[in-house]
C-alpha cells in the first residue's frame, strides 16, 4: 500500500448547491481563482483566469461543456482545458474534483496551484 499518492491536498471550494447544473462559480484559493462548473451533474474545476490575458472566466459565457472568455472570445473545453478557439495559446489548468458530502473540493499536489498564463 503506497498510501496517499504523492503529497496531495484537498481544497474546499464551495457548496455543491452553489453551482446548479449548467452554471459556474468563481472561488478563491489563496492568491488564485478556480472556476467550478456543473456539466449536467458532474462538477469540473479549472483555473479561473483566462490563459490568454487576465480576465475572470466567470465573466465569460458558458456553452455546453465549453467556456468562452468574453475579452477576446477564446474558448476552452471545461473537461480537459484545451483551447478550442484562439487567440488563447495555453490551455486552462484542470484540477481533479472530489465531492465530499455536499461540498465540492479539488485534490491537487502540495505547493502552489498550477495555473497557465
Amino acid at each position: 500500500m503506497t498510501g496517499a499518492p504523492g503529497d496531495r491536498r484537498r481544497i474546499d471550494l464551495c457548496a455543491a448547491d452553489d453551482v446548479p447544473p449548467g452554471t459556474m462559480k468563481l472561488c478563491d484559493v489563496g492568491d488564485e481563482l478556480v472556476l467550478v462548473t456543473n456539466l449536467g451533474g458532474t462538477f469540473q474545476a479549472t483555473q479561473g483566469i483566462c490563459s490568454h490575458e487576465y480576465f475572470e472566466l466567470d465573466r465569460g459565457l458558458m456553452t455546453g461543456d465549453s467556456i468562452m472568455c468574453t475579452l477576446h472570445l477564446s474558448r476552452f473545453s471545461l473537461i480537459d482545458g484545451e483551447v478550442i478557439d484562439t487567440p488563447a495559446e495555453l490551455p486552462l489548468a484542470v484540477y481533479p474534483v472530489v465531492v465530499e458530502g455536499d461540498r465540492v473540493l479539488i485534490e491537487v499536489p502540495e505547493g502552489p496551484l498550477e495555473v497557465n498564463r
Binding site: T2, D7, M62, T63, T86, E89, L90
Partner: protein, 475 residues
Amino acid sequence: MTAQPEAEAALKPPAPARQGPSDLTLSFVDEATVRRTAGAAADPEWLLADRLEGLRSFDALPIETNPLYTTYVDLRNARLAAARPYAGPAVVASGAAAAKLLPEGASAYAEISENRVTALVLSQEAHAAGVILETLADLRARDPELMRRLLEGGCALPENDKLAQMTRALWSDGLLLHVPDGVRLELPVFMRWIVGAPDTALLTRTVISLGEDAEISVVEEQVSADGSESAATDAQAFFAGTTEVQLGSGSTLSFAGLQDLSLRQVAFQHRSAVLGRGATVRWALAQLGCRVVRSRIDNFLEGNGSAVEQAEIVFGSADQLFDLTSYTRHVGEDTTGNLLSKGALADKSRVYMKGLATIEHTAHGTDSYIGEFAMLLSRQARSVAIPSLEIDQPDCRRVAHASSVGPIDESQLFYLESRGLEPEDARRAIVLGYLEPVVARVPLESARDLLRELLEAKWNARVVGRPAAAPAAVA
C-alpha cells in the same frame, strides 16, 4: 515514506512540453546545420553568407509579422522535433536523363524522390530551343555567376517571412527552369516531388526565369512516397519548397500546382512572381493533402500592363489545416489582379484565406478583384476569410472583393435529385463542380485527370454525417 515519492517521480515520464499555436517544433534550424548544409555542397563564400543571413532573419522574426493575421496561426498539429534535414544536394540517378522517362505530352520532366533526382529530361524541341531544366547544383557547376544572380539576397523570397528565411538558410537543392527570350513551348514542363519519409525534412528552391516574350506552362505535383494511406499519428515529414518566378516583359507563365501529400506531412510553400512589363502569370493551385500546410504567394506587378490570374482550391477532410496567404502588390500602371480562393471543408478541417491587394500610388488604372469562398460540409469545419485591400491610388479601373460562406446550395441539390441523382451523388457533383475552376486551368491533360481522381478519392474518404447533439445555445 520519503523514498516512495522519489521513486514515483523517477517512474513518471516528464510531461511533454506544451506546444502553443505559434510554436515551430523544428529542431534543426541553427548555425551548425546551416554550415553542414553549405559544407556538404561545397558552397562558395557568398552562398554561405547568404544562408547565415537567412538564419539571422529567421531568428529575429516572429512567425507572423502582419498584425492582421497574428491570431490565425495554428501549428499545433505539426510535430517535427524528430525531423532531420537532407544535408547535401540531391543525387542525380544515372539514367535520369533517359528520353523514355519523358511523359506523353510534356516538354520536360523532373522527378525528385526525397533527395534523389530520378528523372531530369528535356524533349528534343525544348532542348533545341535552349530551354534549361537542371538542378541548382548543376547550375552552380555550369554558370556560377547566373546562380549567384538568381539566388543571392534571398531574391524574391519575402524578407519579412520567418519560414521563407528558413528555406533561404537551409535549402539543400532545387531546380532551375530557364526559358530564353522569344521561346514559346506548347507542351508543359512537368515537375514531380515524391516526399514524406518519416522524420525527414526536405527544403528546396525552384527558380523559374522567363526571358522576354517567352511562354511556358508548368505542372508541379507533390505526392507522398507511401501514398495517402498512412495514419496521421505516425511520424511526420516536413517539406519546404519555393517557386521563385522572374518574368521578362511580355512573357507568360501558367503554373499548376497539385499538392496531395499524406496526412503525416507538413508543408510550407512560398511562391513569388516578379512581373515585367506586359507579363502574365497564371497560378492554378490545388491543396488537398498535409496535416498542416502554410502557403504564401507574393505577386509583384511591377511592369505596366502586367497581370496575375490566381485560383486556389482546398478540399479539406479529417483535421487538416490550410493556412493560405496571398500578397499582391500593384506598382506599375494598368495592372490586373484576379485572385480566387475556394475551399470545400469536411470533417474538422479548417482553412484560413488571407488575401491582401495593395495598390500603390504609382499604380494608375488597376483592376483588382479578390474572392474568397468556402463551402462547409460538416458541423465542425471552419473557414476564416480576410480579403483585404490597401489603396493609395483612386484612379482604378475596378477594385472589388467578395466573400461568401455557406453550406451546399439546397436548390442545386434539389435540382440534381429531381434529375434522378441519388442525394450522395448529387452532393458530390456539386462539390466537385465547385472546385472545377482550378481543375480546368491545369495545362496538362493527364494532370487534370489525376486531380479529378484525387478529388473524388478524397470525397469518398471523408467522414459522412454529423456528430451527435448540438451544443446548447449560449446563455
